[in-house]
């Protein structure tokens, strides 16, 4: 049995880099920042370094605090509603901004990204295929 999916966006990434790295943008009101992110299918959420929240004009700690568990412990991030633009697809999402200054790298996880899209990967070729869910 064969299966077929259709995508309307294609990005090339460097397979030699650590992780699948994409350039996305975050925007809020009149502010916009470009952010390098890792696609992280093991992350429950979209989590960004706090500097990007601050550049959007957010008071990061004013968001709702959310705890994130990692293999080495727990850290806190704060939820804010921002617009994520990936390959020209825009999503208003609940983004989390890390409390700690040294949180790296920013990641695209399930809530806010993976749950909004169809995603295909051909890692040998460094190709990422993408469509918004429901726009097939």
């Amino acid at each position: 049995m064969s299966h077929q999916l259709h995508y309307n966006r294609l990005a090339s990434y460097d397979p030699a880099q650590s992780g699948i790295t994409l350039l996305v943008s975050l925007s809020l009101v009149a502010h916009s920042v470009e952010v390098e992110v890792k696609l992280d299918t093991g992350a429950t959420d979209c989590i960004f370094a706090r500097e990007w929240g601050e550049q959007l004009g957010l008071d990061v700690e004013q968001g709702r605090a959310v705890r994130i568990r990692t293999t080495t412990g727990i850290f806190v991030a704060y939820e804010h509603d921002v617009t994520l633009n990936v390959l020209g697809l825009e999503f208003d999402i609940p983004a989390l901004f890390a409390h700690a200054d040294d949180f790296r790298p920013s990641v695209l996880g399930r809530h806010g990204f993976l749950d909004h899209v169809y995603l295909g990967l051909v890692d040998y070729e460094g190709k990422l295929y993408l469509s918004r869910y429901g726009q097939e």
């Binding site: 093991g42 959310v66 727990i74 617009t83 633009n85 208003d92 869910y133």
Partner: protein, 119 residues
């Protein structure tokens, strides 16, 4: 407006690129398009988007306890439907005639997310 000759020259140069180099150009153009869209979106539309965001934020703050752990479909502060996952909430938004509605996960109280950690 760029001169016709310049456009022709760029097209000729593009024709000489490898498929991988063309992919890089495509990515560059997609990024430029994103950036242009951010700055050329009509002010009224931007305001409407931010107005809905503000209404949504207030609504979510007030109703988090009721809908925590679910996906909600919202048009500003108007609840269109809910679902256990994105497709269910998206279906509710479509049924309500607002296919472009906000669909989002509502973080419940005591939510704990997870990620593997990066070196």
């Amino acid at each position: 407006m760029m001169a016709v000759n310049t456009v022709q020259n760029i097209k000729q140069q593009l024709a000489q690129l490898s498929p991988q180099e063309r992919d890089e150009i495509n990515q560059f153009l997609a990024q430029q398009k994103q950036r242009d869209a951010l700055f050329t979106e009509p002010a009224a539309a931007l305001t409407e988007r931010e107005r809905k965001r503000q209404l949504r934020t207030v609504w979510l703050k007030a109703h988090r306890d009721e809908y925590g752990g679910l996906y909600v479909a919202l048009d500003g502060d108007r609840l269109l439907g809910t679902g256990k996952n994105y497709p269910e909430a998206h279906g509710a938004a479509k049924a309500a005639g607002v296919p472009e509605a906000y669909i989002g996960f509502v973080y419940p109280e005591n939510y704990e997310g997870a990620m593997g950690g990066w070196a």
